[in-house]
Symmetry: C2
Subunit: 337 residues, 2 copies
Amino acid sequence: MATIADVAKRAGLSRATVSRVLNNHPNVTEDKKRLVREAMEWLNYVPNSTAQRLRNQKTDTIAILVPVLTNPFFAYLLEAMDMVATKNQLQLLICQTRYSKQKELDFLELLRTKQVDGLILTSYENEWKQIEPFSAFGPMVLCNEYERHTKVPIIRMNQFEASYIGTRHLIEQGHKRIACTCGDKSNLAKDRQAGYRKAMADQGLLVEEEWMFSNVFDIEDGKRVLRTILNLREAPTAVFTGSDQVAAGMIMAAKALGKKVPDDIAVIGFDDQPIAKVVEPSLTTIRQPIEELGKTAMEVLIDLIAYKKDTKHQEILLPYDLVIRDSTMSKLKSISI
Amino acid sequence: MATIADVAKRAGLSRATVSRVLNNHPNVTEDKKRLVREAMEWLNYVPNSTAQRLRNQKTDTIAILVPVLTNPFFAYLLEAMDMVATKNQLQLLICQTRYSKQKELDFLELLRTKQVDGLILTSYENEWKQIEPFSAFGPMVLCNEYERHTKVPIIRMNQFEASYIGTRHLIEQGHKRIACTCGDKSNLAKDRQAGYRKAMADQGLLVEEEWMFSNVFDIEDGKRVLRTILNLREAPTAVFTGSDQVAAGMIMAAKALGKKVPDDIAVIGFDDQPIAKVVEPSLTTIRQPIEELGKTAMEVLIDLIAYKKDTKHQEILLPYDLVIRDSTMSKLKSISI
DNA sequence: TCCTACGTTGTAATCGATTTCAGAAAACGG
DNA sequence: CCGTTTTCTGAAATCGATTACAACGTAGGA
């Protein structure tokens, strides 16, 4: 592999001059430029980027921490981030934590060991006080998650409000007994639960604790939980889920049990993923502005890297949408309207 | 940021000794080891990995080229590769080509500029003769794609056979007019088409060129193409698709037009993605061994990197499965059996 | 006691680039 | 034609690690 020294020798010039040509320094005569170019071509020279990184003290690489790639929500989020990164000549190091605290910490080390110029966290497993210290080692942004007392910039949707609206929609369809499957311990999930609870309380509806479910993520979880719900004494007539995957699983399980959606049991999803339109009945869901989330998070991070200014706290809230389809609106009713 | 020199100074030792402790060299006394460890702790020292990369001439990073992350097939493939990579302390640089020839070439440069130790190609856009030369710059593996005359190792499924079996299944259900939507110009697609054609020919069935469709990838494409198919004079009664996404789109469009699947039009998918079980009727499909593909490709690449031996050509063929569900088997028929 | 062998440590070269600084050459003004 | 400024180029330091080699000290054998 040819190095800059080889090019210099062949061109009969110094390494410094070659480097100048490489970086378009103004003060090099056309003559020497040509010599250098010819030598580079002849030797098939390509600068070694590791050496450049060491010398320039930057990597042009951003780490993105996601739980899993196979969750479409994160795939689309990454897609949006990638668009912006590419435009800015940045590489993405995609890090799957698989919901492991240890892996998360390992990946955060990337910032400390200067393997990346910045980092985006799209969810986290550890306590925030374990994570925050890493933000001292390099720019960091929180996307789709949040933390109240921190200087790390946050880009997210108002989960509380969105959940409130979603739950209220179910109530407006006449449901009084509504289950909720969005609760794990993340702040995001807590917000969703809080939104759900407030909507219920505002309409004077009681929430039974046996209607609340945690750790419900995918299609199989959805099937399992729906069967549990239908077996409850005085079973709920609607479910506010935290994910389209879960809602889709519920619809499948309901049909398998001979129950009609939404007449026997109504279901609302979250995200508006492609699957929402594929299931039958199609899913009423809360659209998240995924592209906006990813795009904005990346832009904020790039700003942070460029200006190296002390992170002044900022929180960007993006808008949601309630998308009403068939899994909450009885066809009979909608015709009668 | 503390460097190895700072540690050395604080420990009252040389950089060499610190480095030896870092790399568990045997010949360092416990005494000095302790001194070094204390200094490292005190200074919060972490080795700069860029410097290590430069010195050691390796990056411990693998590039994976995929068209898009949002296609679940590739998400699952990456998931499998990530498992093996993580186990081997390797980082993955995930590169989305978005079906762009230029981007593909840009990413291949990673190998030439020594930014990665190896590269896996999961599909490609350029001519193979554009791509092959890059394999001279570093280890490269082809996964889920193939090329006849090359020394680059190949890990794939027999698309020809799988498509033959899939098409034959449709024929066995009594279909004689079968459309095919798997044709673009990749070798993979050509194989699928060839398998389809052979199955048809073996049963003495004719293939009309207007039944063949190219560039059909996602749900929307599926909807669009199905409408076209149903508008043909003497419309086909079955479709052999190249993807579960497409097949799912077709089922939705068929239902919207009041057609029954599989009685009016039967559909077979490809991949056995989660969506295959979600749609109604559920999809008959050809299961690809995604985990095996990803895992094996990564293992072969790691071997290649470790032994630096000249790539002896190898081609690994993994098995497929025909998964029969409702989109090809009329309920009436299956009951009557 | 002297010589060899081995274990331990440090010095300095190295990986492949960029950049400061200083000197040479060219341009310019009077 | 000389002094000053500007433009161009190269030598050498630098980024932060690893490692070949040399040097030193100590233990063991004769």
